[in-house]
C-alpha cells in the first residue's frame, strides 16, 4: 500500500489548482471535494495521469438533483455531477463533485480521458438532463427515446399511476418502432466499405444468447463483426428512483432485484452504505452469517453463469447439472431466508432472524457434496477441447485497458491482476477469513471461466470457515437505527416496540451525510452511493453495478471476431440485465 507515502489527493489538487476546492466530510471517509465546473476536465486528467499513484479507474459517474434537499451542504448547487475514481496503487477512492446551476446544466465530457465515461454521461443526460459538451453521442440510454422528462429529477413522478394508464395506439406503436430503427450513421458507422455492404444484424432484445432483454446491433462483414452497438434499458425499472420513495428499511427488497442472481449480496452492498451512514457496527455473528450467505450466493450466481456459459457455446447438459447444484444451495437459502432469488434477508444492523436449528448440517452436506461436482464440470467443460477452442484467445483484454474501462471482478482478475475488494478493502469481517484470489493470465473468455470456477472453490472454503467458527451472540446490532429491533423484545417491551413502530412505519431517520458502500459482488464491484438529507428516505440512491461498464466494453471485446464469439464473450462476461439497467 503506497497510500501513506503518496500525497493526499485532495491536498495535491489544492496545491495545484488553488484553494477554491472545497472539501467535504462524508460518513464513508472517502476523500471528497468540490471542483469548479470549468476545470473539472483538467483536474480529472491530472488525477488520472498526472498525480503519483494515479486514479486510473473511473469507478462511477453520476449526478444528484439537489434542489429539494432538506439539509443543504456547504456548496450551493442545483445539480451536482459526482465522479468516483479509484486508484489501485493507493487502494483508495476519491469523490470529485462539481456544482451546476439549473440555468447552465452542462459540463465538459471526459470521454476522451476515460472511454468508460461514455455510457455514464449518457445516463446522467438521460436521467437528469445534464449535457456533456463534446460527448460523441449524447443520447438517451436507459429510457426510450420518446420519453418526456428526466426521471431522476426530483419533480419527475416515481409511480406510473401518477401518469395514468399506459395506452399504446397504433400511431404510437408506429412512432415507437420508428424510434427503435437503427441508423448506423447516428453511431458514426458506415453502411458499407469499398468492397462490401455490411449486414446490420439486430440481436435481441429477445434472443436466447443475450440472457435477458438486451439489444446488440452488429455491423457484419459476412460473419465477421466490424463493430457493434449494445443497446440497454429494456430492463430499466427505476431502482434508483425507488430508493427515493421507499424508507431506508423498505428499500431492501428492491436491492434483491438489481443483480437478481446475487441475492443477499445486493442487500449487503446497500446495507454497507446504510450502516456507514448510521454508524452501526454489525455484531460478529451477524457479520459471519452475512459472509456465509453472500459466499453461498456467489456460488449460486457462478453456477448459473457456468451452466449458461456452456450452453452459450452449445453445450447442452452442464446447465442442468449446475442448476441442480444451485437448487441445493437454494434449499439452504430457503431454509434460512424463506425465499430463493429475492431473499430480502439482511437488515440494517444485521440479519432478519437467527439461523434456524440444523443449519450447520445442511452446510456441511453441501461442503461435502459440491467439490466433486466442480471436478466433474472441469472434466466436462473446461477441459473439453471444443470449449477451449471457442473461448481461448477470445475477448482478450489487457489489465490496463480493463482498468481504463472500469472492469472489476473476475474479468479483471483474469487479466492477471490480483485484486479482490474482500481482501483489499475488507468489509463485514472478510479480513478474518483465509482464502485466495484466483487469477489467470490472458484475460480471455477461458481465463474468466477458470477464475470463476476457482472462486467457487474459494467461496466454499470461506463457507466452511463460517460453519466451523460461527460466533455466538446477537445476530443484529442493538443500535437504535438497526431496523427493526430484535423481534422477541418488541413483543414484550414498550421501548423496543416504540423503536420498532417508528422504524417500520415512518422509517428510521438516517443522519444526514453520504456514504459509498462497495463490495466484491458476484460480477464485480457493486457500490451503493447513498445521500441522506436526514430523512426517513434516501435523498439519492446511486447503484454502481459491475455489469454496466462490462457491457459497455462489448464492442471492444468482440470487434473483428465472429458472431459466435460474441456469444462466448457475452457468456464469459457474466452480466445480468437487471444489474445493467437497474
Amino acid at each position: 500500500m503506497t497510500a501513506t507515502a503518496t500525497l493526499n489527493a485532495v491536498e495535491a489538487l489544492r496545491r495545484r489548482y488553488g484553494a477554491d476546492i472545497a472539501g467535504q466530510q462524508t460518513a464513508d471517509g472517502v476523500p471528497t471535494c468540490w471542483c469548479p465546473r470549468a476545470r473539472i476536465h483538467e483536474m480529472l486528467a491530472y488525477l488520472k495521469d498526472g498525480i503519483d499513484a494515479p486514479y486510473k479507474m473511473l469507478y462511477d459517474l453520476t449526478a444528484i438533483d439537489e434542489r429539494m434537499r432538506l439539509k443543504h451542504g456547504a456548496v450551493q448547487s442545483d445539480f451536482t455531477v459526482v465522479y468516483h475514481l479509484f486508484s489501485f496503487e493507493r487502494n483508495a477512492y476519491i469523490r470529485i463533485k462539481t456544482a451546476l446551476q439549473a440555468d447552465a446544466l452542462s459540463v465538459d465530457t471526459i470521454t476522451d480521458l476515460w472511454p468508460a465515461a461514455n455510457w455514464y454521461e449518457r445516463e446522467v443526460w438521460d436521467m437528469f438532463g445534464i449535457r456533456f459538451s463534446g460527448h460523441p453521442h449524447l443520447e438517451r440510454i436507459l429510457m426510450p427515446r420518446s420519453w418526456v422528462g428526466h426521471p431522476l429529477r426530483k419533480e419527475h413522478p416515481a409511480r406510473a399511476t401518477e401518469m395514468g394508464p399506459f395506452q399504446l395506439s397504433p400511431q404510437k406503436e408506429e412512432a415507437e418502432q420508428e424510434l427503435l430503427r437503427f441508423r448506423p450513421e447516428e453511431w458514426g458507422m458506415q453502411r458499407g466499405s469499398e468492397d462490401t455492404d455490411f449486414i446490420f444484424l439486430n440481436i435481441g432484445p429477445q434472443h436466447p444468447g443475450t440472457h435477458g432483454v438486451l439489444r446488440i446491433v452488429l455491423q457484419l462483414d459476412g460473419e465477421e463483426i466490424v463493430d457493434c452497438v449494445p443497446e440497454i434499458g429494456f430492463h430499466h425499472r427505476g431502482a434508483e428512483k425507488m430508493g427515493e420513495r421507499q424508507s431506508w428499511h423498505t428499500y431492501i427488497p428492491y436491492t434483491d432485484r438489481v443483480d437478481y442472481l446475487g441475492g443477499v449480496m445486493n442487500n449487503l452492498a446497500y446495507l454497507t452504505a446504510v450502516e456507514k451512514l448510521a454508524g452501526i457496527t454489525v455484531p460478529p455473528r451477524g457479520q459471519v452469517i452475512r459472509v456465509m450467505l453472500s459466499e453461498l450466493f456467489r456460488i449460486i450466481s457462478h453456477l448459473v453463469w457456468y451452466g449458461t456459459f456452456a450452453q452459450d457455446v452449445g453445450q447442452m447438459s452442464p446447465v442442468f447439472y449446475t442448476f441442480n447444484d444451485r437448487e441445493r444451495a437454494f434449499a439452504m437459502i430457503e431454509a434460512i431466508c424463506g425465499a430463493r432469488m429475492h431473499p430480502n434477508w439482511f437488515r440494517i444492523g444485521g440479519v432478519a432472524a437467527d439461523l434456524p436449528r440444523g443449519w450447520d448440517g445442511m452446510f456441511r452436506d453441501f461442503i461435502r457434496y459440491f467439490p466433486p461436482r466442480l471436478a466433474e464440470y472441469d472434466r466436462e467443460v473446461l477441459r473439453n477441447r471444443i470449449f477451449q477452442a471457442r473461448t481461448k484467445g477470445i475477448g482478450t483484454i489487457t489489465k490496463d485497458l480493463a482498468i481504463e474501462w472500469g472492469m472489476t471482478g473476475s474479468g479483471l482478475r483474469a487479466c492477471g491482476f490480483e485484486w479482490d475488494f474482500r481482501k483489499k478493502q475488507p468489509y463485514s469481517g472478510y479480513e478474518q477469513f483465509e482464502f485466495d484470489i484466483p487469477t489467470a493470465t490472458h484475460g480471455d473468455c477461458y481465463d474468466r471461466a477458470v477464475v470463476r470456477v476457482e472462486e467457487m472453490r474459494q467461496s466454499l472454503r470461506i463457507i466452511e470457515q463460517c460453519v466451523n467458527h460461527m460466533p455466538d451472540g446477537p445476530y443484529k446490532s442493538d443500535h437504535p437505527l438497526a431496523t427493526p429491533p430484535v423481534k422477541d423484545r418488541t413483543m414484550h417491551d414498550i421501548e423496543t416496540l416504540i423503536t420498532h413502530f417508528l422504524s417500520v412505519s415512518w422509517g428510521p431517520v438516517m443522519p444526514a451525510g453520504e456514504a459509498l458502500g462497495a463490495i466484491e459482488a458476484t460480477k464485480g464491484n457493486n457500490g451503493y452511493y447513498l445521500v441522506s438529507d436526514g430523512s426517513t428516505v434516501s435523498y439519492r440512491t446511486r447503484i454502481r453495478t459491475p455489469s454496466f461498464p462490462h457491457m459497455q466494453m462489448l464492442p471492444l471485446l468482440c470487434r473483428g471476431r465472429m458472431v459466435p464469439d460474441l456469444l462466448a464473450v457475452l457468456g464469459a462476461m457474466d452480466f445480468v440485465l437487471a444489474d445493467i439497467d437497474r
Binding site: G209, Y321, F387
Partner: protein
C-alpha cells in the same frame, strides 16, 4: 421386381422410417433428460409415449404461416426437399436380407448423391426466408456441407475398396468375417463426424445454432413446414445410423437373433450415440469447423484411402 413386393417394402420402410423419426422426438427428449438428471416427457400416455402424438397434433393445427416478405414458392418447397431426399436414400438401404426396396449396384453413390441434394433444402430455406439469421444459417449450411461432403465420400472409399462394390448389400456381405470398423477405424471415425455434420446436429448444428442464430435457416418456419425440417433431421439421423451399421458394423449380421433385430439394435445404438453427442458436446465455431474439415479431416481421409488402397493392392497382389 415384378412382384408386388416392392410396393409392400416401400410402404413398410416408409412407415417404419417415419414412425421411427417421429418416435425419435420422444426418444431424444427422454434420453437427453436421462443424461441431465431429469425425466423428460412422462405425462402424456405411458412413459410419456403419446407426447409424440400430442406434438404432432399440435404441429398440424398450428397456423401455416408464411412471412409476407418470404419467397413463397421456394419457402414451401424447401422443407419438402429435405424429407424427399432423405427418404429417397432409404430406398437403397439393405435392412436385412430381402428387405430392401432397390438393391442398386451404385447404392452408396446414390446415398451420397441424395445427401448432397439435401443441402439445397437448407440453403433454399435460408434464402427464401429473407431473414438475416436464416440467411446466415443457410450460408453456414452450404459451407459446412461443401466441406464435409468431400471427405465423407472419401472416408467411405476405403470400405468400397475392401468390399469391392458400391452395392450396399454386397458391402454387408463382405463383412461376414470382420466388420469394416476394424480395418477402417479411421474411416469410421471420419464418416461419423461427417455424418453428424451432414445431419446438422450438435456439435455441428451451426446452421441453426440456437444460442447464436436463434434457429438459423428455419427461424421463420412454423407449423407443419417446421415439422418437416424436424422430421427431416430425425430421418437424417436414422439414415446415417443405418449407413454406419451397414458400412462399418456388418449391417444385419449377427448371431442368434433375426437379422432385422440385429440391424435395428445396431442402428439404435448409433442413434443413441447421436443423441449423446448432442447432450454432451459444445459447438465449435463455423470457421473452426471448416478448417478442421479441410485441414484435418480431408488429409486424413485421403491418407486412409491411400493406405487402404495400398494394403488392398498388396493383398490382392
Amino acid at each position: 421386381m415384378t412382384s408386388p413386393y416392392p410396393i409392400v417394402a416401400i410402404i413398410g420402410i416408409l412407415v417404419v422410417a417415419l414412425t421411427l423419426a417421429a418416435g425419435l422426438i420422444w426418444v431424444e427428449r427422454r434420453l437427453l433428460a436421462l443424461w441431465q438428471d431429469r425425466y423428460g416427457p412422462n405425462r402424456v400416455g405411458p412413459f410419456g409415449l403419446l407426447q409424440v402424438l400430442a406434438d404432432m397434433i399440435k404441429i398440424f393445427f398450428k397456423e401455416d404461416w408464411i412471412p409476407p416478405f418470404a419467397d413463397k414458392v421456394v419457402f414451401i418447397v424447401a422443407p419438402a426437399v429435405i424429407v424427399v431426399t432423405v427418404l429417397m436414400s432409404f430406398a437403397v438401404l439393405p435392412i436385412a436380407p430381402g428387405i430392401i426396396i432397390s438393391d442398386l449396384n451404385v447404392g452408396l453413390l446414390f446415398v451420397l448423391g441424395m445427401s448432397s441434394l439435401g443441402v439445397y433444402s437448407v440453403v433454399l430455406a435460408g434464402w427464401s426466408s429473407d431473414n438475416k439469421y436464416a440467411l446466415l444459417g443457410g450460408l453456414r449450411a452450404a459451407a459446412q456441407m461443401m466441406s464435409y461432403e468431400v471427405f465423407m465420400g472419401l472416408a467411405l472409399m476405403g470400405v468400397v475398396l475392401l468390399a469391392g462394390s458400391f452395392n450396399l448389400t454386397e458391402i454387408v456381405a463382405a463383412q461376414r468375417h470382420v466388420w469394416f470398423v476394424v480395418p477402417q477405424f479411421l474411416g469410421f471415425i471420419l464418416f461419423l463426424i461427417a455424418g453428424v455434420a451432414e445431419t446438422r446436429r450438435l456439435p455441428f448444428d451451426l446452421p441453426e445454432a440456437e444460442s447464436e442464430l436463434i434457429a438459423g435457416f428455419h427461424s421463420e418456419y412454423s407449423g407443419m413446414k417446421f415439422g418437416m425440417f424436424f422430421v427431416g433431421e430425425y430421418l437424417g439421423v436414422i439414415l446415417i445410423s443405418c449407413l454406419i451399421t451397414i458400412l462399418f458394423f456388418g449391417g444385419w449380421l449377427g448371431p442368434v437373433l433375426p437379422p432385422v433385430v440385429w440391424f435395428l439394435i445396431k442402428m439404435m445404438f448409433f442413434i443413441c450415440f447421436f443423441i449423446l453427442l448432442r447432450a454432451a458436446l459444445p459447438r465449435p465455431r463455423f470457421d473452426q469447423l471448416m478448417s478442421w474439415g479441410w485441414k484435418v479431416m480431408l488429409p486424413l481421409a485421403l491418407a486412409n484411402l491411400l493406405v487402404t488402397g495400398a494394403v488392398a493392392l498388396a493383398w490382392r497382389s
